[in-house]
Symmetry: C2
Subunit: 511 residues, 2 copies
Amino acid sequence: MLLRWCLFAPSPTTEAAMSFHKLDDLGRKLEALEHALAILGADEATHMAVGGGEKRAKAMAALAGMYHTRATAPEIPDWIAAAEGEELDDEQRAALAELRRQYTNLTCLPVEFVERQTTARMRCEQLWRALRAKNDWAGFQPALEGVVALVRDEAALRSDVLGLAPYDALMEQYDPGNRTADITPVFADLKAFLKGFMPEALAIQEARLRKHPLKPLSGTYAIDRQRELGLAMMAAVGFDLTHGSLSVSHHPFCGGVPSDVRITTRYKTSDFLSALMGVLHETGHALYEQNLPKAWAHWPLGKARGMAVHESQSLFVEKQIGRNPAFWRWALPVVEKHLGEAWSLDDILPHVHRVERGLIRVDADEVTYPLHVILRYELEQELVSGSLEVADLPEAWDARMRDYLGLSTIDNPADGPMQDVHWPGAAFGYFPSYTLGAMMAAQQWAALTRERPSADEDLAKGNFEAINGWRREKIWSQGSRWSTPDLLERATGEKLNAKHFVNHLRQRYGG
Amino acid sequence: MLLRWCLFAPSPTTEAAMSFHKLDDLGRKLEALEHALAILGADEATHMAVGGGEKRAKAMAALAGMYHTRATAPEIPDWIAAAEGEELDDEQRAALAELRRQYTNLTCLPVEFVERQTTARMRCEQLWRALRAKNDWAGFQPALEGVVALVRDEAALRSDVLGLAPYDALMEQYDPGNRTADITPVFADLKAFLKGFMPEALAIQEARLRKHPLKPLSGTYAIDRQRELGLAMMAAVGFDLTHGSLSVSHHPFCGGVPSDVRITTRYKTSDFLSALMGVLHETGHALYEQNLPKAWAHWPLGKARGMAVHESQSLFVEKQIGRNPAFWRWALPVVEKHLGEAWSLDDILPHVHRVERGLIRVDADEVTYPLHVILRYELEQELVSGSLEVADLPEAWDARMRDYLGLSTIDNPADGPMQDVHWPGAAFGYFPSYTLGAMMAAQQWAALTRERPSADEDLAKGNFEAINGWRREKIWSQGSRWSTPDLLERATGEKLNAKHFVNHLRQRYGG
Ligand SMILES: [Zn+2]
Ligand SMILES: [Zn+2]
């Protein structure tokens, strides 16, 4: 130990990292506001009195305004620049880089533009809610045209600041590093495969059901028993029930904060699988949040990487684990214990692996879902570039829908281009995340099973910790340290590769 | 309508009331932070995951810090002064006066002092939790001495700023306008009455129970049925279930925000009355919050007046309504409907009107409770003035306890001066609110029945709206417009008068 009493000097870290400490302090204040917004948001969907919504909306808008004002304060770039000259460790440097990225993304649109866009978006979302129910495309079209015009401007503004192509600049908000140059060829491979594979999978399913008719769900599943089953599954799969909970809401979600993750589901007494698969999906999101690096919680670095990575974690649990036959060997006795109904593997798997051609993305299965996404990915790029106009969207949608899924939406825009809230909500560049997530989950499962060939046996025994250990090391503990493609490559040893997802579908749904 | 297009001038209200509008804006931001703190607080006690506490505490501390920084900004007195010169209506003037009062109360202690006091208080509260269980006064005494020393300083500081006597300056935080000069003689009357009346009431009770033995509670009250009963009673009494809810927590409370009031209870399957009377008590608090003037919600003027008035509202529902025999004529069929157990009035009232001499304030009944409070009121004035030292507290407590209630605590400090969290928590001047609330509730009931002699019949029919109409007009709609004594006098036509509470006790518990 060095005696320092004779030196009258401040400690080197305090002195050297003063600007970093200012940013660190700011991060803690922002974390508190985020905490409030996250819990208020989850509370609104689960426990709020119905009449509390107006004041809640005002309170959340004011808190979000305080967050934005603090997170975009004009002195922050100076602090970042000064901190970059300070003596920092690797993690602090990484934190600084993410801070700069967040600041750039938060400030790249003029305030005046954001206000105009918010007005247009909210108006269009309201119209969407009212007119979708009436299948009224003509009434909706002008509002969507307004949103698309502003999205084109937004893409140009983001493109200028970030030095990216316009659509890439939009995707960058949701998954840093995702580029059409990488994604388009992978999606093209996948699409080519699925257009042939889907009819094949449907034919195989039909033949199987002819030999072994579907055992119907009994239709008497008490909600409190379904809830206990869900909680038992969550806990088994790794959800820390001391840092999170399960509630009911109209739309299932994963919210809250990493120290208190709020997931929800909704129950039908006629069908236990829908709530259970929903619980597994949200548990996948929750595991990511609960296992993010705690020391970085108040930095952007400590957040989950992005939408595609997040979806890869939920789909890993829902599809790679939760629809794996090995998992059901372990799960069926658990189901029987809670619901008092015995199922054989042969009876449950046709429910779990059901494939169906349909118009609705959110109802789609593993095989058909990517075609819904690729259709949107292609159309929204054309909308952003201006090669497609909103007026031509119903025909363009219908043409691709017939081509990819053999279904027409020409008389049914409500289930065509009016189907999702994303476009009225000005969220262009978001859709690819869903299928990228599914592909990344398959690629992670493939990498994991290369290292641990016994993974299926682990599932059959209900031993999820070995699998979670791999995920914790490769994904969860990394926070936002790497771009989305880099995180995937570091975790799996290769770039995004459709092969793994294709193999997964072939194995599960092929002949 | 006056055409104004030819005048290029800002609208007079905007111009004239610029400073007021700044304060109005500030109020909306503070309301958002209060909303977050209130919901996060209620959530913590009801729905938070057990492991979420540490982050929750940090988030709430940071949000409270943001609130304090904004609410005590140095420019606020200038805005208030400027606004006082602006053209304002009566309500705006009243809002301004309350704003000034709040600012003075928030800023009258130096930040350095508050920090020292918070440290001492939190340390003493922790010790209290640990040492009360061990009945260890000697270990606790030094910590309480530290808190009392700082409370004496606090009283002196508040006294200087407010121009009030030291103990009055402490009470002023909880109920503006309450003064020992008014309260002490009223409490003296009440004490003199109770010392004679309590033994009389106990003797009457004993004689009655000899003639008509107590019918025990059956001990099989399912929690979900008790909950439905509680909700039915809440709704009947006037609780707006679209702007509030009932949950479970370890300690019952009323929290949340006026647009979404969160009340809680806890259930024992052996006893439906304890949860039900708790629900009625918290419903009383909730009615006040739900009926505060909505247009003033973002001003201090729009808040409930203070602790004694708030307690008068909860006790009005719990004691004046909920323990009134007329109420039980209406309530017994409701109980039977939900719990499937039939009670006669003669069987239920001995439970509802049970009187018992005991050591514990929170377990006390209407008759004995005031003696617990008056004992504390007397002792805490002596502690603040310095005429009593903490070291002498166990003897002083015991002496008064023997005098007022005929019980000794000399070997049992855990149930003596270590009984409540208020003193370790540095909340001196708070205790009188409980009994002032009980007296004010009786005085309000007396005033109401003078105007509406049929009030008992209203209760027997379950017609609470006539009674609530009086309370809404006289109390709830007034927010913080008047001091506590002025509010009472305007509502009831007279100053605080022990007579009404005494008459109430005589009628209910006398011979
Ligand atoms: Zn998801
Ligand atoms: Zn109370």
